[in-house]
Symmetry: C2
């Protein structure tokens, strides 16, 4: 990850002696733009700073401007409605980069992308995947706007009529994924061009939201490769 | 979920008045084997009992014997080496049921399946998916034993030579998935019949362990349906 930190936005690096002595630490120290932004801290201080029991031993202070706000060209994109769990949101952002998603659009009911748990679970992808937050009405207006430009919205919904792998994602596709407990709102489902389901065995009622989003995004990536 | 709780193992039900008044609560009260196992508690007490800020309003006291220990017949199965995060482990168990996995085998370095966070994130699947914990050496002995019976072990590893969707999972397959931070051990990778990768775009180094496991399990499910 070190090589991919946007150094122009880097304001400070905090690390333990143990981390600095390892391969990742040596690499980071070599690449750091200036020595005076590096501060060495004790394990105890690192635990307090990171807010976790078992920190990795390194923290970066990064300018908020480093978060990308402009979508990459191309599709698929993903629209998230009220993903409240920070771990789920961070995991979706991480998977989105790996699956080649051009932008993650979030309704105002989604967790704060700058909360520590989201930042941690994105594993650095926060600064590479375009993240676009749309307040209130704007989320639905943006769906409409993109539809008018030929984007096809595929909603993951229990009432879906086609399995996710029976749909072709080779045109301009945007996925619509909803809240952990309630799924997508009736309004979001109604706005979609297609409703899809992930076929499930056993007695499971639903998948974890990050798992469902990941399966959809990687099916699109699989189809592109085939 | 209510209909799928193994009632013979149910020792107690605790719920708030609000939960009891809803559809899920009424359904559960109707199905409860005896009225005297139900206790109504205040929101305040529920918060303390559940240990979460926003509990769902219902808790069940269930006999440990309700956890299944015998694999279902058939494959695929999944072997987890040192999945330490309780949320990841619970999510994998939940996804495993949805993907039709016959058993989840866990090394002794995996999180405790009876820890509150694992129990919560399985969403009830804990009592339906066979969960087999193998201490120390036993984990690797079981891999060997199943291989001798014709099971093919597919390891998710960065050095994998074939993409996960280029492999056919129609025979007896077991997936091998490793630790969040370090991946599979060299020993586990060496024991596998095949090493696979999930092709990734961008600069992502790895996927979340539960996401990676889910993509593999659902690819096998997709191939069965095609």
């Amino acid at each position: 990850m070190a090589g991919e930190i946007p150094f122009t936005y880097l304001r400070g690096l905090y690390m333990t002696e143990d981390f600095a002595a390892g391969a990742g630490g040596r690499d980071l120290l070599e690449k750091a733009p200036a020595a005076d932004i590096v501060t060495f801290v004790s394990d105890e201080v690192m635990r307090h700073m990171s807010g976790t029991e078992h920190p990795q031993g390194v923290l970066a202070l990064v300018d908020i401007g480093a978060v990308r706000r402009e979508p990459l060209s191309g599709y698929p994109a993903i629209f998230l409605e009220d993903i409240q769990d920070p771990g789920n949101l961070g995991t979706i952002i991480r998977t989105a980069e790996a699956a080649g998603i051009s932008a993650v659009y979030m309704s105002s009911g989604c967790a704060d992308i700058l909360s520590p748990k989201v930042v941690r679970s994105t594993m650095g992808c926060l600064f590479r995947v375009p993240l676009i937050r749309l307040d209130g009405e704007e989320f639905y207006v943006e769906i409409k706007r993109q539809q008018e430009q030929g984007v096809r919205f595929v909603a993951a919904a229990l009432g879906g009529t086609r399995a996710y792998d029976e749909i072709s994602y080779d045109e301009k596709t945007a996925f619509l994924v909803g809240n952990e407990g309630n799924g997508l709102s009736a309004r979001a489902i109604a706005s979609a061009d297609e409703k899809t389901i992930i076929p499930m065995e056993g007695h499971v009622e639903s998948l974890n939201a990050a798992v469902a989003a990941s399966i959809l995004m990687f099916e699109a990536a699989r189809q592109r490769r085939v």
